[in-house]
């Protein structure tokens, strides 16, 4: 019975792995000609998984009832929240990828499979309640991601991005693994519940080292400063659909992981990691903002923007309470919508021959030549900057409100003042598109799927998004409650 129950809780992972294997066979038989069909099938699989996941979130599943495989894995509302965002990011990647790769004749039928396996790894990351399950999920995702970053084999920048990501990613995995082993050594357990109990008493120096190493490894995965160096290079070098993927799904999974580890596994000692998170948050905000100023490539700029935004999200984590976690999840959901809108818009920037346009200078006067696209990008920029009435403001709002309620007034004041630095480069992009003379480089047409995706995501980040605040708040509340249930 226990086996059946566990199998039922990990249902989405089973669907993903089995359908992934079947599609792998299909890919081997069908070759690259079948890549479109396999992409469509993969999106269908992700949709099924999302449908399977949704009830756990809506019913606010939590506690031992949804814990599977002897406490290795939890199918609670928090995991469901993370998974839904991960699946959304993965599905968007699959939808936009074929058109991009086909131009270079680089579309391979493995691509959708890599996305599926990565999605499965990320599902494990947000569900893991044991250090080993966590590590397996993380590596499953990372291996797929390294290949995806280097997917344009003929492109030097793509190969470089893949290699950089691989080398630095392995280093971070090593640090994380070292932290896990230290934690295990000093607490005698790899399960989050066991670590939580073991850390409750007086803290040994070794355990502190374990916590620090685990957090450092995870900070790399969420691309928080000072472990952010890989982000701009990988975001710039990777093919744009893959960058879309990196900016959404793995970010959600890694942040979910970080939240569960900090708030649950290390939840008994918030004082130990809180100051680290505060430091990392402020540093990410400032470095993300300052680093972006000099960029002339829109993808690099968005990479720094993601560092900046992770900093804001970490302010929610620094609160170390349920309200902070819920705020962080709201921000995360909005951030995924903003990233999708941003990168889909970047994908639609193409010149006459259909080659991607990435330089900000080439976007000059976009509002005259392509007003709708410029409007969408302007909405993304103002939203990322957190200027009301765009929905990006709401993410910052809930996070800072949680910080104020938790008494972290200084952190909130410094963080929000630093957000003004960030506003500078966001409005610079708007300036280039709206105030400058038209460069008239962007002329390529984009397909219907991209336009639909852009429209939907821009509507979500427009002021209409505020109508979602109530339901989003309730769902994030369920997820955060699940995170704190056992703790």
């Amino acid at each position: 019975m226990e086996l059946l129950r566990s199998l039922a809780i990990t249902g989405t992972e089973e669907v993903l792995s089995i359908s992934g294997l079947i599609l792998l066979l299909a890919a081997a038989w069908g070759g690259d000609k079948a890549s479109r069909a396999i992409s469509i099938a993969a999106v269908a699989v992700l949709t099924v998984c999302a449908v399977l996941t949704a009830p756990a979130l809506c019913q606010a599943a939590m506690g031992p009832g949804v814990s599977a495989w002897n406490g290795q894995f939890s199918g609670d509302a928090f995991a469901a929240f993370g998974k839904l965002l991960v699946y959304a990011g993965a599905a968007v990647t699959l939808i936009v990828a074929p058109a991009f790769f086909e131009r270079d004749n680089a579309m391979r039928s493995e691509f959708p499979l890599l996305v599926l396996f990565a999605a499965m790894g990320m599902g494990m990351m947000v569900s893991a309640t044991d250090m080993l399950a966590l590590y397996i999920g993380l590596e499953l995702n990372s291996l797929a991601a390294y290949v995806m970053a280097a997917f344009l084999r003929s492109d030097e920048r793509s190969a470089e991005a893949g290699l950089k990501y691989f080398v630095l990613g392995s280093l971070a995995s090593g640090i994380l693994l070292y932290g896990i082993s230290l934690t295990y050594g000093f607490t005698g357990s790899t399960s989050f519940a066991g670590i939580h109990v073991a850390l409750a008493g007086p803290l040994s120096m070794g355990a502190v080292f374990g916590v620090v190493f685990v957090l450092a490894g995870l900070a790399f995965k969420v691309s928080a400063a000072p472990f952010h160096m890989w982000t701009p290079d990988v975001y710039e070098g990777a093919p744009t659909p893959v960058t879309t993927f990196f900016a959404t799904a793995p970010k959600v999974a890694a942040l979910g992981l970080l939240m569960r580890v900090s708030l649950f596994a290390f939840g008994a000692q918030p004082g130990v990691w809180q100051q680290i998170v505060i430091f990392v948050a402020l540093l990410s905000i400032v470095i993300g903002a300052l680093g972006a100023i000099g960029q002339d490539n829109i993808k690099r700029l968005l990479a720094y923007s993601s560092i900046n935004n992770v900093g804001f999200m970490l302010i929610g984590l620094a609160c170390a309470n349920q309200a902070g976690a819920a705020a962080m999840l709201v921000y995360l959901a909005i951030y995924v919508a903003m990233s999708i809108a941003g990168f889909v818009a970047v994908l639609m920037l193409r010149d006459e021959n259909g080659a991607p346009v990435e330089s900000i200078a080439a976007m000059a006067g976009l509002s005259k030549t392509r007003p709708a696209l410029a409007l969408a990008l302007a909405a993304v920029m103002f939203s990322l900057a957190g200027i009301p009435p765009l929905f990006g403001f709401w993410g910052k709002f809930v996070v800072f409100q949680a910080a104020v309620q938790a008494g972290l007034l200084t952190l909130a004041a410094i963080g929000i003042a630093a957000s003004v630095i960030g506003a500078f480069y966001y409005i610079k992009v708007v300036k280039v598109m709206y105030f400058d003379e038209a460069a008239d480089v962007v002329r390529g047409r984009s397909d219907v799927a991209q336009r639909v995706l852009l429209f939907v995501s821009v509507v979500a980040i427009s002021p209409l998004g505020y109508l979602l605040t109530k339901s989003l708040g309730v769902l994030a509340g369920h997820a955060a409650a699940a995170l704190f249930h056992i703790a």
């Binding site: 800072f400 708007v430 605040t469 109530k470």
Partner: protein, 526 residues
């Protein structure tokens, strides 16, 4: 009228117009924009006519809890009513001013203006702390685009400066608002206005709000964005910037800083006096040496806004009422002056004062209106400027005679730079042939000038129309401030105030009587 969501409708009309403008060409866009603003003007008139003077403090209340964390909550008192009236009055004139001047990307231009109108009305009508913040802050986007796209040569620097200055000012206010909502357990502005925050916390909260409002107002020394923004903005942009956007700072003080943090306001009153005195003298002197007409008027705005702040922080009824009237008057007068500059700019495409001269000969109609607005800016009795400045200075005189003395020099300097400007542009010989060849006002310009002229004279001759709606709100604010009021330096209460107070009660008693308090004082002053 009860139950009909007229405020939401006033927000919705320009918004729909904005979407329509985005899709329309130049010809249709300006017609749509004019229609939308005129509809809002009519709605504003309906709003005023149904506003019960002396009725409940908050009227036309609407409430819908559709958001998490804050609510869609609207409602107005007399102070908000007057500022909304100012907004809807100036908007059609702005559209008129842009009628021929804007040729490129007209659809986007009018859409930005209409969005701006929605947000400005939203700021004054919001009854929820965070709804107010969203409206307050959102105005940055359309204004950034208006300055940046349709502005003059140095528009990009000006737009950045405007955006980043005001954003930095506002974000700290957001943190303060969150703390207040957390402390008081509500985001309802009327409730917060009666809530007593701990005095120690008030200091910090007041400073955070001050950071925002001082930049918006703008107060010296954070005013430097204003001349840049004004000079570079198109005429209508300047009108709306000077006419309404600057009033958001004053509205912020009167709605938030004073009633919510009375003790801190008293504590920081010397700071306000110091900055205001500096502003009055310094910016007036700067205005005196300007060669650019718009810059001159921009600096004069800073000086006038300083009179508003001293009046507000006089902690008495004359000061508060006077400040409100200065705000309304300055909204109309500075808007009209920017419009007047725009009229000749459209003809000669320069704002250099030296390029004009002797316009009274070829543009007599224009010279007449320019004269009226110049006099109103100087504060000549009979125009709107006099009523407000007189009341404000009277209010501050009761509190501190030194501040009153220094601020009064602003009136003298104001007369100096405005009359000097008028002399150089309108009188003298016609030294430039192209300026001499300019035609007088056309029908469209007459149509814009006449309502402004009427408003200036109405407010100057019969200010009771504008004092009556806010009298009760000002009185309750004065009562709220009474216990925190700092002691004045001159003991003038005994000698000077009873007659003034008596005239006020007289005015109260005769709500619609022909003789109002300030008028009586005005007579007395002469």
């Amino acid at each position: 009228m009860s139950g009909f969501p007229i405020l939401s409708l006033m927000l919705l009309v320009p918004l729909i117009g904005a979407v329509a403008c985005l899709m329309a060409g130049r010809e249709q866009a300006r017609v749509i924009a004019l229609t939308a603003t005129l509809v809002d003007l009519v709605l504003g008139a309906v709003l005023w006519s149904h506003y019960q003077i002396g009725g409940p403090q908050w009227q036309f209340q609407e409430h819908a809890s559709v958001f998490a964390g804050f609510e869609w909550k609207l409602g107005i008192d007399g102070i908000a009513l007057l500022l909304i009236a100012l907004t809807v009055f100036l908007m059609p004139i702005c559209i008129g001013a842009s009628w021929n001047a804007i040729e490129k990307r007209a659809g986007e231009y009018y859409a930005n203006f209409l969005v701006m109108e929605t947000l400005m009305i939203g700021v004054f009508a919001a009854q929820d702390l965070f709804l107010f913040y969203i409206m307050f802050e959102a105005g940055l986007i359309p204004m950034y685009l208006i300055i940046g796209i349709w502005g003059g040569a140095d528009r990009i620097y000006a737009s950045y400066k405007f955006f980043l200055y005001t954003l930095l000012g506002s974000v700290l206010m957001l943190i303060a608002m969150m703390w207040m909502a957390n402390e008081a357990g509500t985001t309802d502005i009327p409730t917060l206005m009666a809530y007593s925050f701990p005095v120690k916390a008030q200091t910090w909260l007041w400073l955070a709000f001050f950071a925002s409002f001082a930049v918006k107002m703008p107060m010296w020394p954070t005013h430097t964005w204003l001349p840049d923004a004004h000079v570079q903005a198109p005429t209508a942009g300047s009108v709306i910037l000077a006419g309404v956007l600057l009033k958001m700072g004053g509205y912020g003080f009167i709605r938030f800083s004073l009633p919510m943090f009375p003790e801190a306001s008293a504590q920081f009153a010397p700071l306000i006096y110091g900055l205001s005195m500096a502003a009055v003298v310094i910016t007036s002197l700067i205005a005196l040496v300007q060669h650019d007409m718009k810059k001159l008027i921009a600096y004069s705005s800073v000086a006038h806004m300083a009179i508003v702040t001293v009046g507000l922080f006089a902690f008495n009824r004359q000061g508060l009422e006077g400040s409100m009237i200065v705000m309304l008057s300055h909204g109309i007068v500075s808007g009209a002056l920017f419009l007047a500059v725009g009229v000749i700019y459209d003809r000669l495409h320069t704002r250099e004062i030296d390029r004009y001269g002797g316009l009274a000969i070829n543009m007599p109609g224009y010279a007449l209106f320019f004269m009226l607005f110049t006099m109103a800016s100087v504060g000549l009795p009979g125009t709107s400027g006099f009523v407000g400045e007189f009341l404000s200075l009277l209010g501050i005189y009761a509190q501190s005679s030194w501040v009153a003395l220094v601020c009064t020099t602003g009136i003298i300097l104001g007369a100096a730079y405005m009359l000097y400007l008028y002399r150089r542009v309108i009188f003298g010989v016609q030294k430039n042939a192209d300026a001499a060849a300019m035609s007088d006002l056309d029908a469209r310009e007459w149509a814009m000038m006449i309502p402004l002229g009427i408003a200036v004279l109405w407010m100057g001759i019969y200010p009771e129309t504008f004092l009556a709606p806010m009298r009760k709100d000002i009185a309750s604010l004065e009562a709220r401030l009474a216990q925190a009021r700092p002691k004045g330096d001159a003991d003038v209460q005994l000698a000077a105030l009873p007659p003034a107070a008596a005239t006020h009660e007289h005015g109260d008693a005769m709500e619609h009587g022909p003789q109002s308090g300030p008028e009586a004082q005005h007579e007395g002053a002469r």
